[in-house]
């Protein structure tokens, strides 16, 4: 083919491509009188996506007049995605998100108040502590349905060899016992000062959420309300767990310094290899461990330590939520779908798919979640100790977290600054940020 011929052929191909693209023009289906609701789901694990799609199909089969369309979303950029959709008037009717994102959207008037739209049965089945994560200014802006606490994923062989007592949700370790167990599992057989096995690996790539949530176990809060305003404090009760982590890394040598810059996933290879005996991880990480652990590797799931009887196994969580867009023309129908998805039996399906815990008390009692396998039983037994994360409802928290708390905590855990300086940054510069949102 000549050059000119090739050029013509290329031009024709491109023109066809253009026509093809234009031919793919958007537009929904024909208007057949049915209500169509868009359900933006952030489920991402294969089992979870499957469970969500199955629920949508079941709903559509039972409700021919209210058709729900499954729209796959992504946790990546979800806030910006939703904000743009809200501003543009094109938001999905039903929105999957997590509770930490609801405050700003509720404050902006983007979410429907579900008070009065949900059945009493659902209201009664989910504990008040969970509902409080989605309440704002007297309204309910989401149904909390999945949550995940931090747990200890532990190498069973190393735990047994250490001789440490095996804790249970009813009789958990105190933080002092945890320190002792970490020391017992730490090994430096060649005496070079660098352990071959560390008792624990704290993954602190994103240090803020877990530092704040675990502060509840020792009676801390970090964020308090004074005269109707959010105030940051970082007293002994708030900083006790952070100080323990710092001590383990820099004084006791029982926690690996190298893991401080890692994400939870990054610490797993070292766990399988026996370099780390215990990993404090979110509950859903069990799925990765179950999938990746070498054959014959024995592991178990233990509750996080307790700061004392008065605090129990308290820790903060920000549940995943289902909300309805304020701009939806069919808020009641959307709320009905949310109620359907969050029925106890369905919450069990979703929890199994996501390796998380349901909020529904009836779902938590389901035999499918009562198994000891993969630590499910440990999770369900600590569920009623979970508290709303202190960060929920704090306007300006994302900026406080990104600009102040993350770098300050990273410096503290790395040993670059001491506790006093950390406190000064969190409560001084940090408070100024929160104040800007509360004028």
């Amino acid at each position: 083919m000549s050059a000119a011929g090739r050029a013509r052929a290329l031009g024709a191909a491109l023109a066809l491509t253009l026509l093809g693209a234009v031919g793919c023009s958007g537009g929904g289906g024909g208007d057949d009188g049915r209500i169509t609701l868009d359900f933006l789901s952030l489920a991402w694990q294969a089992e979870s996506v499957e469970a969500n799609k199955a629920l949508v199909e079941e709903w559509n089969a039972a409700n021919p007049d209210v058709h729900v369309r499954y729209v796959q979303g992504s946790w990546d950029n979800i806030h910006d995605h939703l904000l743009t959709s809200f501003e543009g008037g094109e938001a999905p009717d039903i929105i999957h998100n997590d509770a930490s994102d609801l405050t700003d959207f509720a404050n902006g008037g983007y979410l429907a108040d579900l008070t009065g739209l949900l059945p009493e049965e659902l209201r009664a089945d989910v504990p008040e502590a969970a509902w409080s994560t989605t309440e704002y200014d007297g309204g309910i802006y989401g149904v909390p349905f999945l949550q995940e606490p931090r747990v200890l994923v532990v190498n069973s062989a190393l735990l047994e060899e250490s001789g440490a007592r095996v804790p249970t949700p009813e009789d958990p370790w105190s933080w002092e016992e945890f320190e002792a167990a970490s020391a017992a599992m730490t090994r430096d057989s060649d005496g070079d000062g660098e352990a071959e096995t560390y008792g624990v690996a704290w993954s602190m790539k994103e240090p803020v959420t877990q530092t704040v949530n675990l502060a509840l176990s020792t009676g801390g809060e970090v964020f308090t309300r004074e005269d109707g305003k959010n105030v940051v404090r970082y007293d002994a009760a708030d900083s006790s767990v952070a100080a323990l982590i710092n001590r383990q890394v820099h004084e006791d040598g029982t926690a690996a310094a190298s893991s401080l810059g890692m994400s939870g996933s990054d610490t797993l290879p070292g766990f399988y290899d026996g370099r780390y005996a215990m990993l404090p991880l979110n509950f859903s990480f069990r799925q990765q461990v179950a999938q990746q652990a070498p054959d014959g590797f024995d592991w178990t799931v233990l509750p996080m330590p307790s700061g004392g009887e008065e605090h129990g196994l308290a820790q903060g969580v920000a549940p995943q939520t289902l909300s309805v867009a304020e701009e939806s023309d069919h808020q009641q129908a959307a709320a009905d779908f949310v109620s359907f998805v969050t029925e106890p039996a369905h919450q069990v399906d979703l929890a199994l798919g996501d390796w998380m815990l349901p909020t529904s008390e009836r779902a938590l009692a389901d035999p499918a979640l009562a198994t000891e396998e993969y630590g499910w039983r440990t999770g369900t037994r600590i569920a009623d100790e979970l508290r709303p994360s202190p960060v929920l409802g704090v306007r300006g928290y994302p900026e406080w977290k990104d600009k102040i708390a993350t770098p300050a905590l990273q410096e503290y855990y790395s040993g670059a600054i001491d506790l006093d300086k950390l406190r000064g940054k969190l409560t001084g510069d940090g408070q100024r940020i929160l104040d800007r949102y509360q004028r």
Binding site: A21, G27, W44, Q45, A46, H81, S85, E87, Q288, P294
Partner: protein, 291 residues
């Protein structure tokens, strides 16, 4: 009288230095290729590993037990082929349209110097300074009014607008490099302005056109946020959006299938480059010199 041709041989030291220099060049080239190829090779290696191997503390370049399971899982979990087709349609269309608009615009800006063309040049530069988040909501509203939300043509329009300033800037440089005397010679030979453009200028611009096409195509192929926000229907989502479906909250990822899908996502761009890269140089002298 015979003369013996004088053969000047470079001194041995100089030849050695030249050889060493050449070896250094090749070494640098190899290092650069390794640097460029590393992500792709690692991606391939990851895509072929089992979950157990991915969790190993001693990662290997070559999978010990290579498996295609990640590819199967990726295809099972997400509509990769459909999303790849969507990406190809959008990227190709937007690249072609952007270049089609940019070529005459660049020519006018270079050859017809006026205040308008100067203002246009400044505007092109200024438009590059707008942050992404500043334009997304207004753009969203404009597209909604035009009923172009959730449509591939809508996304094409966005990518054309987004790529046009840089495409224009690139082509402007190429047009400037075409000697004006060639156009004057063509005019003296009786060629019309259009004929001069199509038969003299355009062939000389081929490398520029190809480079700009490549730039526009790759930018559109990789773009994520516009596609995420503008396309609601699952059947219209592009590859970059689909890839994020393998990533969960707090950055936890289904690494094997993600690597498999990401590897497949790089293939069209590589193919596009392979097909067009010869054109980058083949048009350098086209139309300028009679054979």
């Amino acid at each position: 009288m015979t003369t013996t041709p004088h053969v000047s041989r470079p001194p041995t030291r100089r030849r050695l230095a030249r050889g060493a220099g050449r070896a250094g060049q090749y070494l640098a080239l190899v290092c650069y290729l390794v640097f460029l190829g590393f992500p792709l090779v690692w991606l391939l290696s990851t895509a072929l590993k089992s979950p157990q191997e991915l969790g190993s503390i001693d990662p290997t370049w070559i999978p010990e037990h290579p498996t295609l399971e990640n590819f199967r899982a990726a295809f099972d979990a997400q509509p990769l082929l459909r999303s790849a087709l969507n990406s190809a349609l959008v990227a190709t269309s937007s690249a072609v349209i952007a270049v089609a608009i940019a070529v005459p615009a660049a020519y006018v800006m270079v050859r017809y110097r006026s205040r308008i063309s100067q203002a246009g040049t400044v505007w092109v530069l200024v438009s590059q300074m707008f942050p992404f988040v500043l334009v997304i909501i207004p753009l969203f509203l404009v597209l909604r009014n035009l009923h172009l939300i959730n449509s591939l043509p809508g996304l094409v329009v966005v990518y054309v607008v987004w790529n046009l300033p840089f495409s224009l800037w690139m082509l402007r440089g190429y047009v400037q490099a075409v000697p004006l005397s060639l156009e004057e010679a063509a005019a003296m030979d009786g060629a019309s302005r259009l004929r001069t453009l199509t038969h003299v200028v355009l062939p000389l611009l081929t490398p520029g056109l190809v480079a700009t096409l490549m730039f526009s195509f790759v930018t559109a192929w990789n773009e994520f946020f516009f596609a995420l926000v503008l396309l609601k229907s699952p059947e219209k989502q592009t590859m970059s959006v689909i890839l994020t479906h393998f990533i969960g909250a707090e950055g936890v990822a289904d690494l094997g299938p993600l690597a498999a899908a990401a590897l497949l996502a790089t293939l069209p761009s590589l193919l596009f480059f392979a097909l067009l890269q010869r054109r980058l140089v083949s048009g350098m002298l086209a139309g300028a010199v009679k054979a």
